[in-house]
């Protein structure tokens, strides 16, 4: 994603971020699942022993756990073809000038440094397995805001890191959380002190360059009482014939009265498996918002979760999926209500075309004791042609009587009357379809910072171009 700069694609309908750099790395692990490689990663990172042990424990759990049989098709995902760790440079830089030239060129092409100067409070850039750049505005640093790569977070704040790591998403949560815990590298470590409001977004940028690579970033975000922050992540990769794997784990704690928004603009190339676990613990009167847009990847399985554990906590998920040819977006979200007076809202918008498949998979669960809780889920799916497919798999469960739960889902074809109207105004059919689609996702796009909204509309236009025969 280029928040500001011009995307550089060759023509309409082309994936603009498919360029690739020469593969020159400091270290590259042997492809496949090897215990020694985990030892090697841990040694190279010079980690404390507890982390090394935890990695190995998670690895055993990963091996013992069966592959999920639900969701997308994982039959073609071959772990033996995946390179689990690639070290592109020897350290994380705080100045773009010191980032290795080839990598810097990549991020220049993606418009990241320019974006940082203009509209971001802090930027992290991950290339393959390591964060190559991480920087935050000095003013925020003085207020005590921490924005580091997770590897540096572990080095500089070992106690907090140890206390926090794996508490929101333990490695036993699912097979891919175990895989991430075993091989994790990179990601962001964010701390916002009590009462501090970070007005501009913090951004992390994730890039896969090599063929058949696995990226396993681990992000920990702690928003202290009454603080607020917006974190944005974007993802791209070159187009290869061999599949890559991105399997991040995001752990977030939003303390009492705090506010956190986590925005993802996922635009992996269509040879990437994107299997991510994102979860937030939300305290009393705190607010957690996930804005999740999935445009790229071959298969995404991702269900951002809010565990509303404090009284009056509020969770929100805005999920947008676009599934084109060869893509399956299995996205959605989960809301777990544990405390009284908690509220949640999930809005899902999906568009499928040209044989693409988008699925909403969600869970709303109100446990005993969460009296007076409210939840609303709205799923809308748009089908652009007869080869496309959409599914809705929600689960709604309550153990409380004094609750208010609503769920609605609608699937429809693009409105012929709307198209006719727009065409009668002189728009071509393609323009008309694009406009209807833009209107359909408008509720989500308007929640993005303006530059991203513009970018999102551009990405959707690109997805749409050539869609009308």
């Amino acid at each position: 994603m280029t928040p500001n700069g011009k995307p550089q694609w060759e023509g309409p309908g082309e994936y603009p971020y498919g360029f690739r750099d020469p593969e020159e790395y400091l270290y590259r692990s042997r492809p496949g699942l090897h215990r020694e490689e985990i030892e090697e990663i841990s040694a190279q990172k010079n980690e404390p022993d507890w982390m090394r042990k935890l990695r190995l424990e998670a690895f055993d759990h990963f091996l013992a756990r069966p592959m999920p049989t639900w969701g997308g098709n994982l039959a073609d995902l071959n772990f033996n073809d995946i390179t689990f760790y690639i070290r592109p440079s020897d350290r994380t830089q705080v100045s773009w000038d010191e980032v290795p030239e080839a990598i810097k060129r990549t991020f220049d092409r993606l418009g990241i440094p320019e974006a940082e100067r203009k509209l971001l409070a802090g930027v992290g850039a991950q290339y393959e397995s390591e964060m190559v750049y991480h920087n935050v505005q000095q003013a925020l640093e003085k207020k005590g805001v921490i924005f580091l790569s997770s590897d540096e977070g572990l080095k500089k704040h070992p106690d907090v890191f140890k206390e926090f790591f794996g508490t929101v998403v333990p490695h036993t949560d699912n097979k891919f959380a175990a895989l991430n815990t075993a091989f994790w590298s990179g990601g962001s470590f964010v701390y916002v002190p009590p009462g501090v409001h970070v007005d501009l977004p913090l951004q992390a940028y994730f890039r896969l360059n090599a063929q058949g690579v696995g990226q396993f970033e681990r992000t920990l975000i702690l928003v202290d009482e009454g603080a607020s922050v917006h974190y944005v992540e974007g993802c791209t990769a070159p187009v290869y014939t061999r599949d890559s794997l991105h399997s991040g784990v995001i752990e977030i704690i939003v303390r009492r009265g705090a506010r956190m928004r986590y925005t993802t603009i996922q635009n992996w190339s269509t040879n990437v498996y994107n299997l991510v676990t994102q979860r937030a613990l939300v305290g009393e009167d705190a607010v957690m918002e996930w804005v999740d847009s999935n445009l790229g990847s071959r298969l995404t399985m991702k269900y951002p979760t809010c565990i509303l554990q404090g009284k009056g906590a509020h969770g929100e998920i805005l999920s947008m999926a676009f599934a084109g040819q060869g893509q399956h977006q299995d996205a959605g979200g989960k809301m777990i209500h544990l405390a009284p007076g908690t509220s949640s809202k999930i809005t899902s918008k999906s568009i499928s075309k040209a044989g693409g498949r988008s699925s909403y998979r969600g869970l709303v669960r109100i446990l005993h004791g969460a009296a007076g809780s409210k939840s609303k889920v709205v799923c809308d799916a748009l089908l652009l042609d007869s080869d496309a497919r959409t599914d809705t798999y929600p689960t709604i469960l309550t153990e409380e009587a004094r609750v208010d739960i609503g769920h609605e889902a609608t699937v429809s074809k693009i409105g012929q009357e709307q198209l006719f109207y727009l065409r009668s105004r002189g728009l071509t059919e393609e323009e008309a379809v694009t406009m209807v689609v833009s209107g359909f996702i408008e509720p989500l796009v308007k929640e993005l910072p303006m530059e991203y909204a513009i970018e999102m509309n551009r990405l959707v236009q690109m997805q749409m171009s050539g869609s009308v025969g």
Partner: protein, 475 residues
């Protein structure tokens, strides 16, 4: 059956539950006792061959993970329970009242030991309408039964359809010939008071342009011993035909029910279907609507009122297999005590079903903090020219509405009962035929009265008050 849904399934831990033990000797004995033709005995034997190789569903199977099969001693259920003299209980007179008085076009009452009543308007009988117990149908209309039985739900679907096909000893056949439209309701009652394991099946076949309304009731007294009731319901609606079929279930609180119900609706056929559930300790019902040809339409309406430790688990499937088909499902439930309701539904639109219109609605009213509700409304859409929606709402009584009614001087319990009745009104209105609607309405009303009497608290079975006779007393 519908293609397997791709919903998530649970972990792979399994608790093995043994299917009921059946021997060759028992299977042969069933055929001998009923004195049925050889082909019928053969079909039981064939089902038994499948059954031998089948296992009980695993608790991790998506369709079964909410059903506590392991809590129920299937393997100990006695197939010969009824043979012990004195076990059968007589049908209370209340259940025998005709649904539409003299207008009732035909009535079948099946009890423990056989047929209690079997009447059908003579003119209808002459025109070829068949409405008779299965035991008679296999002798009088062997070709029809052989052709249709198992054509909608084969015995091989699961261990319970196999078991039903082997052991069923009750049920009936309804066949309406081409072009016959019956404007008076038919009625059937299945009374099965014994302990142990019993199964029945129902086969309804409407030929082209035929039309009929049928009320089917099942009931048994409350007993302390375990009992299981299995059933297979097959409905065939041929081109242009209209079937209105409503079933009420008032099994005793000792009963576990496992049922497979499926309708196949052909070109421009119409199905208005539904059920009301008050009884049984636990139910697992699969309801499937296959809209196989252009213009087929199905409407399904369900209501359940559960209390005590009652559990209802339903899996519905609305399968759009042809263009311009429509389905409309509405389910409403009221939960008291520690009752649990699980509803999993799927609307599936196949690639060549352009112009499909599907709706699934699920509304649950929870009146107790110990009750639990779960809804899983799914959509699988493989065609673009569709309009499919579903809606779920779960919640308690609206406190503002309650306040309003109370401010009119109506006592709290009565106000609550009024709100509950108002809640169910929307689905009661969809029950086909005025007389059937009234009968269901009265039964629900009676159940509400008992709730009122019990201050909307948990009560053990109040099913008895839902009997037609008791309705009269309350209405």
């Amino acid at each position: 059956m519908a293609r397997k849904s791709e919903r998530a399934s649970g972990s792979s831990d399994t608790i093995a539950v043994k299917p009921p033990a059946l021997t060759d000797i028992q299977v042969e004995a069933i055929g001998r006792e009923t004195g049925e033709p050889g082909w019928m005995v053969d079909s039981r034997r064939a089902a038994f061959e499948h059954y031998r190789r089948m296992n009980m569903p695993s608790p991790t199977d998506e369709a079964w993970r909410r059903t506590e099969l392991s809590q129920f001693p299937y393997s100990e259920l006695d197939l010969d329970a009824l043979a012990v003299s004195g076990k059968a209980k007589r049908i209370p007179a209340s259940w025998l009242k005709p649904v539409a008085g003299a207008r009732t076009a035909g009535k079948l009452v099946l009890e423990d030991r056989g047929v209690h009543t079997a009447t059908l308007d003579e003119e209808l009988s002459r025109s070829g309408v068949i409405f008779m117990p299965f035991s008679q149908a296999v002798r009088d209309h062997p070709d029809l039964v052989r052709d249709l039985m198992g054509s909608v739900i084969p015995s091989t679907v699961d261990v319970f359809t196999a078991l039903t096909s082997i052991i069923f000893d009750s049920g009936f056949l309804l066949h309406i010939p081409k072009g016959i439209r019956i404007d008076r309701p038919l009625q059937s009652l299945l009374w099965s008071s014994g302990e142990g394991l019993r199964a029945w099946r129902l086969l309804v076949n409407l030929e082209e342009d035929a039309e009929v309304s049928l009320l089917h009731e099942v009931a048994s007294p409350d007993r302390s011993v375990h009992a299981a009731r299995l059933d297979v319901v097959e409905l065939i609606v041929r081109p242009g035909a209209t079937l209105r079929f409503f079933m009420t279930q008032a099994w005793g609180g000792n009963v576990v029910r496992v049922a497979h119900e499926k309708a196949v609706v052909h070109r421009d056929g119409r199905l208005i279907w539904g059920n009301a559930n008050y009884g049984a300790q636990s139910t697992k019902v699969f309801t499937t609507m296959d809209l196989t040809e252009q213009g087929a339409a199905a409407q399904w309406s369900g209501l359940h009122v559960l209390d005590g430790d009652q559990r209802a688990d339903s899996s519905t499937a609305q399968n759009h297999l042809a263009p311009k088909t429509s389905s409309d499902l509405l389910s409403k439930g009221v939960l008291l005590g520690a009752a649990q309701s699980h509803a999993s539904g799927m609307i599936r639109v196949e690639p060549d079903a352009a112009g499909a219109d599907g709706y699934q609605g699920n509304r649950i009213l929870i009146l107790s903090d110990r009750a639990k509700a779960e809804a899983l409304p799914g959509l699988e859409i493989l065609s673009d020219d569709v309009r499919c929606t579903h809606g779920v709402s779960i919640g308690g009584l609206d406190q503002e509405e309650l306040f309003y009614i109370r401010s009119r001087g109506i006592p709290e319990e009565e106000s609550k009962a009024l709100l509950v009745e108002g809640f169910l009104e929307g689905v009661l209105r969809r029950v086909p035929e005025e007389e059937i609607r009234q009968r269901v309405h009265l039964a629900v009303g009676a159940k509400m009265k008992t709730m009122e009497a019990g201050h909307l608290q948990m009560k053990e079975s109040v099913r008895k008050q839902a009997e037609p006779d008791a309705q009269g007393a309350h209405s």
